[in-house]
């Protein structure tokens, strides 16, 4: 592997110039306080050398991680697991997950033989082409920001076509998500993981033929075309991972919730493809406590505040599961800026009834949308103007905060970045 290391000096001169200029732009952007600079750096580099991503990826072992939810956390868990190999790893840790972000992550780590790259679900086909990945991870697929994203049946079809055209790559996929399984089954080599599926509203029907699926526990079968859940080799079972040899052990993650346990089992299956065993991988993964500010606990005016980020109905469903139970108060916050999706319709796909009887506070730029939604579910709440207002109103030693993307960033800016 070391003999094929990309190394900056092996790049053609224009590509080297492109990474230097892009890196400088990123530094300027960072110093100006505009995020981590990876997008602007990547954009400028790519303008100078449009093939930069494939040049930078050549000779490395690349993992692409995609899905509607859990991309950032899973990328982080895989990176942690592969750190057991003792080699540098390139990764877009802050979630810049389109071509510019991937390019920037690779150009910042020219000597890393490994790369774990979170990839936007819409860009998987061209990113597979450009990076020739060793492994593609498919987590889940559900409705998300449809005012700007593609429809998910269409996305599944595009994944399927891209994987069919990439015979050298192994797919690690969640067998419990019928759309994901259908897309992955076109690949030449698949590691199937029973990672669970909490949100089912987008997979009642067969992605292959459209018939209503028969569901029995985790099993799913199509009576009309025979499409069914593939046999799995890794299983998530009550917080334990069961490996292909049938050995079961507790995950023992620091990260909370079923969704992260599911991400972790998928990360373990990826680690195995790199020769990292469950024990060494888990030892590293257990050290991950917070991912780009998510799950961070901070003190604010004497209240311990925990921030959860979720962007769509499936994510909110999982996040509501993760919350510390009543009587700890909950602050829910929703914005509808471009990165969030301008349409708040998705609020009506989440079932809030489990919040009945606990203190609920509602904030964010679109708090009225959420207020009307909660009223329809008979959940009592109070409107708040800011996170500090929420802390004051809650008057509780703890406060759980669930916010969508820009609402989360706004709160995080107030309570301070801790990473």
């Amino acid at each position: 592997m070391d003999t094929t290391l990309p190394g900056r000096s092996r790049l053609p001169i224009r590509a080297r110039l492109a990474t230097t200029v892009g890196g400088a732009a990123a530094t300027v952007s960072r110093l100006a306080g505009k995020g981590d600079g990876s997008v602007i750096g990547g954009v400028i580099s790519l303008r100078l050398e449009p093939d930069l991503l494939s040049l930078l990826a050549a000779g490395r072992q690349v993992v692409l991680v995609t899905g509607t939810n859990g991309k950032t956390t899973t990328t982080r868990l895989i990176t942690a697991a592969l750190s057991a190999l003792g080699q540098p790893i390139a990764s877009n840790v802050y979630g810049a997950n389109m071509e510019a972000g991937l390019t920037s992550a690779l150009s910042r780590a020219p000597d890393a033989p490994l790369a774990v790259l979170e990839t936007d679900e819409k860009y998987i086909p061209p990113m597979i082409k450009a990076t020739q990945p060793k492994v593609v991870v498919l987590l889940n697929l559900s409705r998300d920001q449809m005012d700007r994203a593609a429809e998910i049946w269409m996305l599944a079809r595009r994944w399927r076509e891209a994987l069919a055209a990439a015979p050298g790559c192994r797919v690690v996929a969640n067998a419990d998500d019928p759309l994901v399984a259908w897309a992955a089954s076109a690949a030449s080599a698949v590691t199937w993981v029973a990672a669970g599926q909490r949100w089912r509203e987008d997979s009642w029907c067969c992605p292959n033929c459209g018939a209503h699926l028969l569901r029995d526990g985790d099993e799913w079968t199509c009576r009309e075309c025979g499409n069914r859940r593939p046999p799995v080799s890794w299983v998530l079972s009550d917080g334990n991972v069961v490996d292909p040899a049938g050995r079961s052990q507790p995950l023992g993650l620091a990260l909370p919730g079923r969704a992260n346990a599911s991400n972790a089992v998928i990360a373990l299956a990826v680690a195995e493809a790199f020769g990292v065993g469950v024990d060494s991988a888990l030892a590293q993964m257990r050290g991950v406590t917070s991912v780009a500010g998510r799950y961070t606990q901070v003190q604010r005016r004497g209240t311990e505040v925990r921030l959860l980020l979720a962007k769509n109905p499936a994510g909110w469903l999982e996040a509501l599961d993760v919350m510390v139970p009543a009587p700890v108060p909950v602050l829910l916050a929703v914005n509808a800026q471009t990165p969030d999706g301008r349409d708040t319709s998705w609020l009506w796909d989440v079932d809030y009834r489990r919040l009945r009887g606990r203190p609920v506070l509602v904030g964010g730029e679109r708090r009225m949308d959420l207020a009307v939604r909660l009223e329809a579910d008979d959940v009592a709440f109070r409107l708040v103007d800011s996170i500090d207002d929420a802390v004051d109103v809650a008057r509780s030693p703890r406060l759980e905060v669930l916010a969508n993307y820009t609402a989360f960033q706004q709160y995080r800016a107030v309570v301070g970045r801790t990473e």
Partner: protein
Amino acid sequence: MRLVWIYPDLLSTYGDRGNLLVLERRARLRGLPVEVVEVNSDQQVPLDGDIYLMGGGEDLPQVLATRRLQADGGLHEAVRQGAVLFAVCAGYQMLGTEFGGADGQPLPGLGVLDISSCRGERRGVGEILADVDPELGVPRLTGFENHQGVTRLGRDVKPLARVVTGVGNGDGTEGAYSGRVLGTYLHGPALVRNPGLADLLLTWAAGQQLPPLPPPAEELALRLRDERLAAVPVQ
């Protein structure tokens, strides 16, 4: 009051449940007993519903749902017997004689409304405002649209509204209605910001004027409605 949601397994793309919840709540607040029936695509459409709801869907589910409803025949029969039918987005297009399939090819619709749709040049995505046919006595519509359909209205239907901001049917009109069948491009939970439209459907189904809701029960919905009306520029 029997509310029947048609094919949530195929036609529930973005918050379509909202329409069911709004109708259910507004009926209950007036003391009307409500029963909700969710009919999946492998089940028969019951004939005894008072209000039938159809949501949005992606191209392929839209085609599948149309095929199944055509074979089932229950929805046609219920409408013939005078049931109320409210359809949004993909559901609205399906009610017509024709709509554009996954590759834009014309496909036969259910023929319940005299409209015909095809795929347009551009996707219409964003907030929409439209002024409702005065005969219906419903205030200005506010909602969100996300579709690429262009819909032509035939002689047997009337436009539901005139577009103030947004795209709608593509010719300045928005939605269509005939008798007690009403369709709109306002997608997902269209009734949430338009309680007047929800009450129109309930009134049709009840066959009589309904008492107004006590003001506190309306306060949040009206605040949201006013906020959105104020936030969207009139073109």
